[in-house]
């Protein structure tokens, strides 16, 4: 646990400073958490909803957080679960097949005014959408955020070896997709 985490945990234990401590947590980690969510759900409005749920859940569960992991790891875990839950609920609402879900998500992405990718970046996002959700997570975390495999292991509960293999396969699939689609 780093020094900031120790200070924050001390403040969180004090009822008078708990809110202030949590505000600090939100301000320190919101951007990282947001981008982690956004890369999964793609659209800004959805990412905003999921991030609110993430921090609300964290706030409601803060008393049971014992500091056995970094605060960032804990937040990432909540954000990951909330993102996956959101995508599952969305899929159920649409009642469409997996293929249709991907096309729908890509269409929503292209229509999102907060997406400014060029043609190649668009194609890359389309390729990433073809990956299974867990593999998408691994790819996004490694490729865009350069999170270490050890930290990923804490967040996702998957071994480093499995994560490396997953990322390697994801890269191959994406590159194959990009070549075939060209």
């Amino acid at each position: 646990m780093n020094q900031t985490d120790v200070e924050l945990l001390t403040m969180l234990a004090d009822p008078k400073r708990k809110s202030l401590a949590f505000s600090s947590i939100v301000r320190n980690y919101q951007e990282r958490i947001y981008w982690h969510i956004r890369k999964m759900v793609l659209v800004h409005d959805d990412a905003n909803d999921v991030m609110q749920n993430t921090f609300l859940k964290a706030w409601n569960g803060i008393d049971s957080f014992r500091g056995d992991s970094l605060i960032s790891t804990w937040l990432y875990r909540i954000a990951t679960n909330e993102s996956l839950t959101f995508l599952t609920n969305k899929r159920l609402k649409n009642l469409q097949s997996m293929d249709d879900e991907e096309s729908l998500m890509f269409q929503n992405l292209q229509a999102d005014s907060y997406f400014d990718g060029n043609e190649v970046e668009q194609k890359l996002q389309e390729a990433i959408l073809t990956l299974p959700e867990k593999q998408r997570l691994v790819f996004n975390m490694k490729y865009f955020e350069d999170i270490t495999y050890e930290e990923m292991e804490s967040i996702l509960g998957t071994s480093v070896g499995a994560l490396k293999a997953s990322f390697h396969h994801a890269v191959k699939k994406i590159e194959r997709f990009l070549i075939e689609e060209k």
Binding site: K18, S19, F22, S23, V26, R27, Q30, E31, Y34, W35, R38, K39, L42, H44, N48, M51, Q52, F55, L56, W59, Y114, F115, D116, G117, N118, V120, E121, Q122, L124, Q125, Y143, F144, D146, V171, I174, E175, L178, I179, K182
Partner: protein, 116 residues
């Protein structure tokens, strides 16, 4: 040969290292500042009302009252059933004796002696 070169070039261009890892997403202006402010308002501590403080105790009291009344009803029903069973038995025994038999047993012994 030319085809193979073309494919190689395509593959190189589609290599992820060439594409880069820029995030092609943006956010509304001041989004993060506003998010933090809004969230702080959401979690600002409000004092708990007396009802909210007492609620767990009220739930417990209601639960014990419920258990007490259920036990009372069960005991009353059990007692009633026992009484009914006793009454029914007495009625059964009386029904086995008819009126004539009852009269015979009720006549005094001297009547038999006078007949002789």
């Amino acid at each position: 040969m030319l085809f193979k070169v073309k494919v190689k070039v395509m593959e190189t261009n589609m290599n992820l290292n060439k594409i880069g890892n820029r995030k092609p997403f943006t956010v509304p202006e001041n989004y993060f500042e506003q998010f933090a402010d809004k969230f702080e308002t959401q979690i600002s501590i409000k004092p708990l009302s007396p009802i909210k403080l007492l609620r767990p105790w009220l739930y417990m009291a209601a639960m014990f009252m419920g258990v007490f009344f259920m036990a009372k009803i069960a005991f009353t029903v059990y007692n009633d059933n026992k009484l009914t069973a006793t009454e029914n038995y007495e009625l059964y025994v009386m029904s086995q004796l008819n009126d004539v038999e009852n009269l015979d047993y009720s006549e005094p012994i001297e009547n038999e002696n006078s007949k002789k």
